[in-house]
């Protein structure tokens, strides 16, 4: 039977969220920033499944399905924006996009 308590899953998820946040805040390449967001959303899913098992029902897993839906929508729109950006400015580095800075 299942011997691992949910706290350990939460710790793995915390590690993934921290790695993803570091990548999101420090990388300059927009493709890798989007991948870091995927890492963070995966950590959320681990959390939701762990809580679903702790609560003894399937609601957490249903929420994880919704999170996956939102992640798919986010990836599609984000990559569309990236292609439009590359077509206009010929760059994929986040800090070279400074049209709204003064």
């Amino acid at each position: 039977m299942q011997a691992i308590p949910p706290t350990y899953y939460l710790m793995v998820s915390l590690g993934l969220v921290l790695i993803g946040t570091i990548g999101l805040l420090t990388r300059r390449n927009i493709v890798i920033i989007l991948m870091s967001i995927e890492l963070i959303l995966n950590a959320v899913n681990i959390n939701l499944v762990a809580f679903s098992n702790a609560a003894g029902n399937e609601r957490g897993q249903v929420f994880a399905i919704f999170v996956i839906t939102v992640a798919v929508a986010e990836a599609a729109v984000g990559l569309g924006i990236l292609i439009a950006l590359f077509r206009n400015k010929e760059t994929v580095l986040a800090d070279e996009v400074e049209l709204l800075k003064w």
């Binding site: 706290t7 570091i22 493709v31």
Partner: protein, 169 residues
């Protein structure tokens, strides 16, 4: 060592090492491959928690769908010049300090509350057997309206991404 502990360590190591490689590699293709490794680790953690439906969704949708989308965009967008430049921005040490503080805080409270979080004893007999059936039961009885809203969200995302990425004439 119990097989549960062994599998848990293996899959969490896969997820974490894949994540670290994803944010540190210079080439975006290497990052994408590392992210696939990390996603496989997360899928294994789903399987260990008896969420078989989410395991299948993770493999089919994330690894088969989103990662292929990423690789296509890497192919469309020229990343060779970006790979030769600096990979991290100048504020990396502020970000690192903030994330370390956040991690220490979250780990402290996680250890404080570890005793109150334990696995529920599942009552057998009520509801159908099998994870997929139970997830479908919950999804289509309690969460039907969010399900429909999610489908509208996907439609909006399709239309929006096609509109954003099309060629201006």
């Amino acid at each position: 060592m119990a097989p549960d502990v062994l599998f848990f360590s293996f899959f969490s190591l896969l997820a974490l090492v894949g994540g670290v490689l994803t944010v540190t590699r210079r080439s975006a293709v290497h990052s994408a491959i590392s992210l696939i490794v990390s996603l496989i680790g997360v899928a294994g953690l789903f399987l260990l928690q008896r969420a078989e439906f989410l395991f299948a969704v993770q493999i089919v949708l994330y690894i088969g769908g989103i990662m292929v989308l990423f690789l296509f965009v890497i192919m469309l967008v020229n990343l060779d010049e970006a790979a030769k430049l600096r990979q991290f921005n100048r504020q990396w040490w502020i970000a690192g300090a903030c994330v370390l503080a956040l991690g220490a805080e979250a780990l402290y409270f996680l250890r404080q509350g570890a005793g109150s979080l334990r696995l529920a004893v599942r009552s057998s007999g009520a509801g159908p057997d099998g994870n997929t059936e139970r997830v479908a039961d919950t999804l289509f009885t309690g969460y039907l309206v969010p399900f429909e809203v999610a489908s509208v969200l996907l439609l909006v995302a399709i239309v929006g991404s096609v509109f954003l990425a099309r060629k201006r004439t």
